[in-house]
């Protein structure tokens, strides 16, 4: 046991390079003629290497984990980035579309003029509540409150209120413009087609022209 310990100490010092020149030379000479000593040196060298490799293995493992984590983050960033780009492109496309629709509606929008019919025998023709709703809707539309205008005009369109100033084609026409301003092209087209299909009125030609442009 004692001899072995001394030998191992010697091997350690030889491998560490801490022997004196004389000690080193003498140990080297022994190695030349002692294959068992060579084996012992190699074994001890391999043990030391194994201890180092174990620690290096842990460092490498941590580094690999970082690489894989970074890889996952990169994939996530690419996915989120792609989504953001796609969403931006869609947004730009949609805004352009809305802008085009709104511009078109603005070109066709003309304020509704109502000329009261001459009264007969002093009878005063007063506007109904539905007429007020209609004019309110037009005010909202001019102010840019498209949704409110649509709500009011849709109410009128689906009702059978008595009206003096507003006509059915007028309601359809302004509702179609409101839809168009709001980007609801399909609904606008249906209403315009309905105007065209009705007997000739003041909105027939305008509806035909707008349909052509759409």
């Amino acid at each position: 046991m004692e001899d072995n310990t001394i030998l191992e100490q010697e091997i350690d010092r030889y491998l560490e390079g801490t022997m004196t020149a004389d000690e080193n030379e003498s140990f080297y000479e022994r190695l030349k003629f002692d294959p068992e000593l060579v084996k012992e040196v190699e074994l001890q060298r391999s043990i030391i290497r194994a201890v180092r490799n174990e620690r290096l293995g842990r460092i490498i493992e941590n580094e690999e984990k970082q690489f894989h984590k970074q890889g996952r983050i990169r994939k996530l960033v690419i996915a989120v980035g792609s989504f953001a780009v796609a969403a931006s492109l869609f947004g730009v496309f949609y805004l352009t579309y809305l802008n085009n629709c709104e511009n078109l509606a603005d070109r066709y929008y003309v304020a509704y003029t109502y000329t009261p019919l001459p009264s007969r025998g002093g009878e005063i023709v007063t506007l109904t509540r539905a007429d007020s709703m209609f004019f309110d809707a037009l005010v909202e539309l001019e102010r840019g409150n498209k949704k409110q205008a649509i709500t009011l005009l849709e109410n009128l369109h689906h009702s059978s209120y008595e009206m003096v100033a507003a006509t059915d084609p007028a309601i359809r026409w302004y509702l179609s413009l409101a839809y168009l301003k709001n980007g609801q092209k399909k609904k606008a087209k249906i209403l315009l087609q309905e105007i065209v299909n009705k007997p000739d009125n003041e909105f027939t030609q305008k509806a035909k022209n707008l349909l052509n442009e759409l």
Binding site: T5, Q9, I48, R49, R55, I59, I60, E63
Partner: protein
């Protein structure tokens, strides 16, 4: 960071910098190996890890230092890597048709060693070593602590007790290994 700085960082076992140096050439090595030799992509990571360990051990054993480094550290590492890759191919029965390109600096491996199989057995035995032996060997051979420091840190009476304990551990390990190792006649 120059090659000399890198060698010093590895020599001093600065674990943070050793990790950084490992990562520094990793992706480039993967690309280089794919380009240089027909190799199974699944093997590349292991080849790089083995090459990096060989490089570190050369530095620890003072076989590679700032004075005898003839090419860059990267070329040396890649050279070791390509030698390992050729050996992997050979072992898999996939002999490379092409020779190692002359432009690649392949370091010579002139150590007889104990053979790959035995190295694996030793690695496993060290990994499975019980306490306090495992800690003592790590403190001695990785952290390069003196017997005095080991004695204080591990509550031994004195440095001699620490030394005796260390050699007992090595002898125990060697005895275990002698029964497992394969010696060529």
């Amino acid at each position: 960071m120059t090659d000399v700085d890198k060698i010093l960082a590895i020599k001093k076992k600065n674990e943070f910098l050793v990790g950084r140096i490992y990562g520094l050439y990793r992706n480039e090595f993967f690309y280089f190996l794919k380009k240089s030799i027909s190799i199974n992509p699944d093997d590349i990571q292991e080849i790089y890890q083995d090459a990096f360990m060989v490089l570190c051990n050369k530095i620890y054993e003072n076989k590679l230092n700032a004075d005898n480094l003839t090419s860059s550290l990267k070329s040396y590492l890649f050279g070791v890597g390509i030698r390992i890759a050729y050996n992997v191919n050979r072992k898999n029965g996939k002999l490379p048709t092409e020779e190692i390109p002359e432009t690649i600096d392949v370091p010579h491996d002139n150590e007889p060693g104990l053979g790959e199989e035995n190295e694996k057995i030793i690695q496993k035995a060290v990994h499975e070593m019980g306490e306090p032996c495992h800690t003592i060997l790590v403190k001695q051979y990785w952290e390069e602590k003196k017997a005095e420091e080991i004695a204080i840190e591990m509550n031994y009476k004195n440095p001699d007790t620490a030394k005796t304990q260390k050699y007992k551990c090595i002898q125990k390990l060697k005895n275990e290994l002698r029964g497992k190792m394969v010696y060529q006649s």
